[in-house]
Symmetry: C2
């Protein structure tokens, strides 16, 4: 193990030597990734199993490092929720190691032939999925993210440069040391997984647009926004989750109530929770008081427009800013709208293109909503909270993207690969297919 | 036609009234695009046919506008190649109108179901392709691009904001006027196709990251680089095309010579032409003089490293800068390398991730090259110049992307669409699938 360049163990974290310049780290990562890209599915799965074994073998050191992080966090008065995410006890670690092994069971996203076409006799075009190259993953607190991301990176044939939160530095170092040990036990260059530990390195990482192919930020909205604003590298993720539930004129009211409660109350700080409830004016007199009662009963504070306040006087007055606010809390903005078109216009103006739902028995209204709402998920008669890679059956979730271009919505392993065109000929040149006696292409699909 | 807000005809171009503020234009375009997104394939094809008819009906006015542009260009001493691209005579216009009709024949990229999965009984997930929304297309000279891009935008259900070169302003205005007339004849909101005419608007367009979903720049490398450097909107395109041909130790020399000549001489300013020739040292003594003779015979000037100069003394000395230069001319850098690994390392250092080719009879070397070269196209025993949407059989080419993330390489109509997740339930909520008595998902693929 002496040959492997790894950060020092947790106990000497304070005396850690400065890392190699970041550009060199990125190049080392890319070189290791080049080797990963050529590994078979079986070889990658063996590497993942070796990671799981190394993590289990180092469990004691990892928990000791985490205990030191937690102690320092208590001394620093770290906020309670952050502290909860930082803590990595034996049960959580065991679960995370099981999660690493689950990644081995996922289908290999590399090597899928998407297009196979004969351009002419003996000239064979294939579009084949391949790794992106080097991922940059920046996360706050949660040290368990290190294990999940590293195994997903190996499975997809990518190198990964991790940057964890300052408060989790000892935990991350112990975890990455074990992961790198596992990789080298499996004969894989451990430089495929790297750890950065300083804040300055985050900015430097975001500037490496020639060496890093995708940035995945995990953390608060402000944090993701910061990342998006400071890099030219593609970013997989979303800053805001401003989701709406629209209750149409001909809605099943019981469904509407159950969905509204589920989408708001189940986990209010989830990005797929709703922030605004829109109600068609024709059903508002009946529906709004019942919806409001059910939500209030669960502790939700309502902020309504004038029409809402008339039907539910306890509602606080809503302001323009509310429509663009992700409360992440038991607060819900409510607006009465004149039509499905008005609901769509509201959503396309204020929504964050995450997930939007309509409750209606009117198929035409549902179709219009589906076609015209601009969002990664457009739902009919179900809760926005289904927007999740695991619930979609992707087996893992890399992130949820609210960008227009693919990958969009909940992204599984396929978000970590791209494709190449392989063209295999027998000396074919384009001159054959140009000019007066141009030979035509056959363009015959072979699969 | 009076109700349609179109730019003034060419003859009064000088007195044109200022356009609406750009943000308003973008919103108008998005609204029109929302309608386009709901049209059937037949309705979109009818709109494209109406565009073709309107262009044919306005042919005289369009040619007059173009003649005025050409006259002004002559007076301004426009560079010859730009002038050639600006000129839109009767034959070229007829060809472009036929090209518009060809777009109607392409398969509709919208509405393809990519995933269809039952999450649980009655809870149906579909991933369906849909338009991106609003495209921003910025091009130099070539007024014929207006017709191709507009018809591709309509076919893919997108609105488009066009910005043509200053020297083509009258031609573009006449073309867009005809296209908008065609759209309104087909009952489509003509705001789906907009034209900007001033340089200030280009910068303003690039800043509209909330209103424009994709920027497609068409022009010189410097121009594309400028666009990439001044926008947060995704950019489809490539600034550089630094492609390599590597002749391996066990190559068919006749193939290598034919491919080298085709890839360098056929159209030296094409982005898929080669800029550097790499030759394995074991074959160099025989191969290099023959390759050099064939290329020199076609007027190619060679710039070689020391080993090259020893074998072909007429070669000029190469400098470090040559390896990163897109000559777009009959100049070729030549380097002798020690191995396929050295060739891969050179390409991954200096290439622009466009298209790279190996000539070899060694299947293992070809596989290594395919797996480890980082480029949109990795070819074996054929010319790099096949990298082209039409040659790939896409029916149209929107651009060639050298980014890592998809869409990559030559991009057809599918590069103008994204996807949405539709989830249709019967009142389903996530609470059912959480907690102690959590119901499992079925995750049953239905297609």
């Amino acid at each position: 193990m002496t040959a492997i360049q790894v950060p020092m163990p947790a106990s000497t974290a304070a005396s850690i030597t400065p890392a190699a310049p970041l550009a060199q780290i990125a190049r080392d990562t890319r070189q290791a990734a080049q080797q990963l890209a050529t590994l078979s599915t079986a070889a990658k799965n063996q590497a993942i199993e070796a990671i799981a074994q190394a993590l289990a073998a180092d469990a004691e050191a990892i928990q000791a490092a985490n205990a030191a992080d937690c102690e320092a966090a208590l001394a620093d008065n770290l906020a309670k929720p952050l502290y909860g995410r930082l803590k990595l006890d034996g049960v959580k670690l065991k679960g995370a190691i099981a999660g690493v092994r689950d990644v081995a069971k996922l289908p290999d996203p590399v090597g899928t032939v998407q297009i196979h076409r004969e351009l002419d006799a003996g000239l064979d075009l294939q579009r084949v999925t391949c790794p992106l190259g080097v991922l940059g993953v920046i996360f706050e607190s949660r040290p368990d993210a290190v294990m999940q991301i590293s195994s997903l990176a190996v499975k997809s044939g990518n190198g990964v440069i991790l940057k964890g939160g300052k408060e989790a530095v000892r935990s991350c170092q112990a975890l990455v040391q074990a992961i790198r040990t596992g990789l080298s036990h499996a004969g894989v260059n451990p430089n495929a997984v790297q750890l950065l530990t300083t804040r300055e390195e985050t900015r430097a990482l975001l500037a490496l647009d020639k060496d890093v192919d995708l940035i995945i930020p995990r953390g608060s909205n402000e944090f993701v926004q910061f990342v998006q604003d400071h890099t030219r590298i593609p970013v997989l993720g979303h800053a805001d989750g401003i989701c709406h539930l629209y209750v149409d004129a001909v809605a099943d009211l019981d469904q509407a109530i159950a969905i509204a409660v589920d989408a708001k109350v189940g986990y209010p700080s989830a990005c797929n929770a709703i922030e605004t409830l829109l109600i068609h004016q024709d059903i508002a007199a009946t529906a709004l008081p019942q919806l409001a009662a059910a939500l209030t009963d669960k502790g939700v504070v309502l902020r309504g427009d004038q029409a809402t306040q008339q039907l539910w006087p306890a509602a606080q007055p809503v302001t323009e800013a509310d429509w663009s606010t992700e409360y992440s809390d038991l607060i819900l903005a409510v607006r009465v709208v004149a039509s499905v078109e008005a609901a769509i216009a509201h959503i396309n103006t204020y929504g964050s293109r995450h997930t939007e739902a309509i409750v209606t028995e009117d198929a035409a209204a549902a179709a219009l909503f589906r076609n015209q709402v601009n969002a990664a998920g457009v739902y009919h008669n179900c809760s926005t909270r289904f927007a999740d890679g695991f619930r979609y059956g992707f087996g893992a979730e890399v992130g949820i993207s609210t960008q227009s271009m693919p990958p969009r919505g909940p992204v599984g392993l396929e978000g970590l690969v791209t494709y190449k065109y392989h063209l295999i000929g027998q000396g074919h040149i384009v001159a054959t297919y140009a000019g007066e006696n141009a030979q035509p292409f056959t363009h015959r699909d072979l699969s």
